[in-house]
Amino acid sequence: MLEIKNLHARIVDDGTEIIRGLNLTVKAGEVAAIMGPNGSGKSTLSYILAGREDYEVTEGDILYNGQSILGMDPAERATSGIFLAFQYPMEIPGVATMEFLKVAMNEQRKARGEEPLKIPEFLKRVKEAAASLSMDMAMLKRPLNVGFSGGEKKRAEILQMKLLEPKLCVLDETDSGLDIDALKIVSDGVNALRAPDRAFLVITHYQRLLEHIVPDTVHVLYKGQVIKSGDKSLALDLEANGYAGVIGEAA
């Protein structure tokens, strides 16, 4: 589903190279965990996948279902099924969460040539999805992410993911700022979405999240490259021994 080939990317403003020859393949139905120390390029990778303009790809390619996505803008990538759950979701003052959901869902439908959702159907879907994440409908009347707690923001991200039904879900440090109860709710939400035709890229610092969202593969990112790949035991190994061993091995 996702094939990243010898990817090199730099920050447009100052030319700093962050991703330096990254290779990664994620199959449909797979949950791939991306781990790595601070500054290894994890979040950058998620932004580049989503098409953020601050980064420039200088070499290599990103294939999604066999097609390069490098020429697509963030909205086009989103409508093709790529979703990024942000580490720090943005506040959108004055735009009720409900309204935002409706616009996003209908814009994606429009791009696929489908009719906009009828209001009762839209409400039904939102109510179900919100209930499954223990979210109060009253919260959805508030402007998106404005004044939301860390946990509420992350839940709102998963709610959007549920409703938009993407095929490639990128979760950027979704566990940061979550207490154990919220972590459970968010993880359950993600697990419920696991499907044979859907892949996940779970970016995290800690093993903790991977106890709840059990990965099929684990990849260690260091200095903009995948330096080691393995199964879920690799995450446990990292938890026990830290990154130093793996980094030393690769060097």
Partner: protein, 505 residues
């Protein structure tokens, strides 16, 4: 071949395609020669069958105007206006005094149809349909209740048809063209015309007093709550015709009226001058709500053409506990010079100003309000949202003052500016003056840019760039949109989106 392609591209770039309401209508016009003189004013007055006192009033204003200089303090720049090159009067030819829609020029009705104006009575009676999102909208204070709007349509300069007059008459409300009011209700016009904006007020208001051709007149008698929203759609049509509307609204003791003004104009090359005057008078316990959505031609991509909009709007809270509220959504015009103001004369009176000013391309906006606190315990509230994109300049200019007798005057001002791109400018020029130590004025101002982070986030959900900007901007202006009557709010949100098209990329 390349030449042909170039022509096609050029034609496409001209805003014909982009300006949704840019079309012209062929209707036989009846116009005065170009230029301005006492004779032209006599011509206008005669055309309108005005009594001699009205003519004298106009001539006096004209003589005063000749002694005045065009103001230059606003942050707007434009070539000098040649007043001798403007037609000051143009009326659509029509059978005299149309009594029903069937008497009105069908071409005219077609224009209204294109604009989607619900002029036909059956449409109006059918009421305004609520939008599908209503279930989700937070209920605002001004949910549109009656579902009906009475329209006084001004086509260029003459009121063509007035609907719902009978029902309004039953309530005792007078809603007609100002020309008709001058003929039918001279005592009211004499008493109130120029009592808020005197003929000597300012350059453009004085000009308007001399040459105003038409506008609306509303009189709501004591204790009457106007049974429906009153609405005027202005539309400039004839080339080179200055538009000089004059509107006068009077709410007697305990009366209430809500008035909507909406404007679109056809596209053209030469600049069009528009200098309207609106006067509101609220007596004891009366309330007037005046809402505007302004969408005049802003000029083409290079800043050529477009409407010059120099407007004087002022409300006089003449009575105790009276209230006047201005809400405006300004998206059009090449130049906007407009400061809807409140004179808080009565004790415990209050004034409000809610404004959204959107500028794109080479538009220049200098707009704001004045809150003049004269009475005791008067309060005012100013919420201004300026959005600048393209190469535009957007200035908020506001004055809040408390007279020495205005004990316990209160004002709250909030001015937010939002910049889209880095070629535009937003400016805030607040003047505050308290001659009374008990006055309390609060002022908040922010300027922000739509951040790349926000835009990226919204686009990541599958929302294309222009829609993403429109969504963020509509969130930014929500406080003001909520002040608009429901059916206007929906229109205004769409308009803001349209106005910002092409502001990115």
């Amino acid at each position: 071949m390349p030449a042909v392609q170039e022509t096609i591209d050029r034609v496409r770039k001209i805003d014909v395609d982009q300006y949704k309401y840019g079309f012209q209508t062929e209707i036989a016009m009846d116009k005065a020669p170009k230029g301005l003189s006492e004779d032209i004013i006599r011509f206008i007055s005669a055309k309108k069958d005005e009594p001699s006192w009205m003519l004298e009033w106009r001539l006096e204003a004209y003589r005063r105007w000749l002694t005045l200089d065009e103001p230059t303090w606003a942050r707007v720049h434009y070539p000098k206006i040649d007043f001798q090159d403007i037609y000051f009067y143009a009326a659509p030819k029509s059978t005299p005094g149309p009594t029903s829609l069937s008497d009105v020029d069908p071409e005219l009705l077609k224009v209204y149809e294109k604009l989607g104006i619900p002029l036909r009575e059956q449409e109006i009676l059918a009421g305004v349909q609520k939008t599908d999102a209503s279930e989700l909208e937070e209920a605002s204070d001004n949910v549109y209740k009656s579902g009906r709007v009475a329209v006084d349509a001004v086509f260029d300069s003459v009121s063509v048809v007035t609907t719902f007059k009978k029902e309004l008459a039953q309530a005792g409300v007078i809603f007609c063209s100002i020309s008709e009011a001058i003929r039918e209700h001279p005592e009211l016009v004499k008493k109130y015309l120029g009592s808020v904006v005197p003929t000597s007020d300012n350059y453009y208001a004085t000009l308007n007093s001399a040459v105003f051709t038409d506008g609306s007149f509303v009189f709501v008698p004591k204790g009457v709550r106007c049974p429906m929203e009153l609405s005027t759609y202005f539309r400039m049509n004839e080339k080179n015709t200055g538009q000089f509307e004059r509107t006068l609204i009077i709410a007697e003791e305990g009366a209430y009226v809500s008035y909507l003004e909406g404007c679109t104009a056809p596209q053209r090359d030469e600049n069009q001058l528009h200098a309207a005057v609106v006067e509101l008078v609220a007596l004891d316990d009366a309330e007037i709500k005046y809402s505007t959505v302004q969408n005049w031609y802003p000029g083409d991509a290079e800043g050529k053409g477009g409407i010059y909009n120099f407007v004087t709007k002022r409300g006089d809270c003449r009575g105790d506990r009276s209230k006047i509220s201005w809400t405006q959504v300004e998206t059009g015009s090449a130049i906007t010079w407009k400061y809807p103001s409140c004179i808080l004369r009565g004790d415990d009176s209050s004034g409000e100003f809610y404004s959204i000013a959107v500028s794109n391309g080479y538009q220049q906006v200098d707009s704001g309000t004045k809150m003049i606190h004269l009475g005791k315990n008067t309060s005012s509230r100013i919420i201004s949202k300026g959005i600048a994109a393209g190469f535009s300049q957007n200035t908020y200019r506001g004055q809040v003052s408390a007279h020495r007798k205005a004990t316990n005057a209160r004002n709250f001002t909030n001015c937010d500016s939002l910049l889209i791109g880095d070629q535009c400018g937003a400016h805030t020029v607040p003047y505050m003056e308290a001659k009374n130590s008990t006055a309390q004025f609060e002022h908040e101002a922010t300027t922000s840019k739509i951040s790349e982070d926000q835009k990226f986030y919204v686009m990541q959900r599958g929302i294309p760039e222009e829609e993403a900007i429109a969504l963020i901007v509509n969130g930014f202006v929500k406080d003001v949109i909520q002040q608009l009557p429901m059916e206007f709010a929906v229109e205004a949100q769409k308009l803001i989106g349209i106005s910002l098209e092409g502001s990115v990329g």
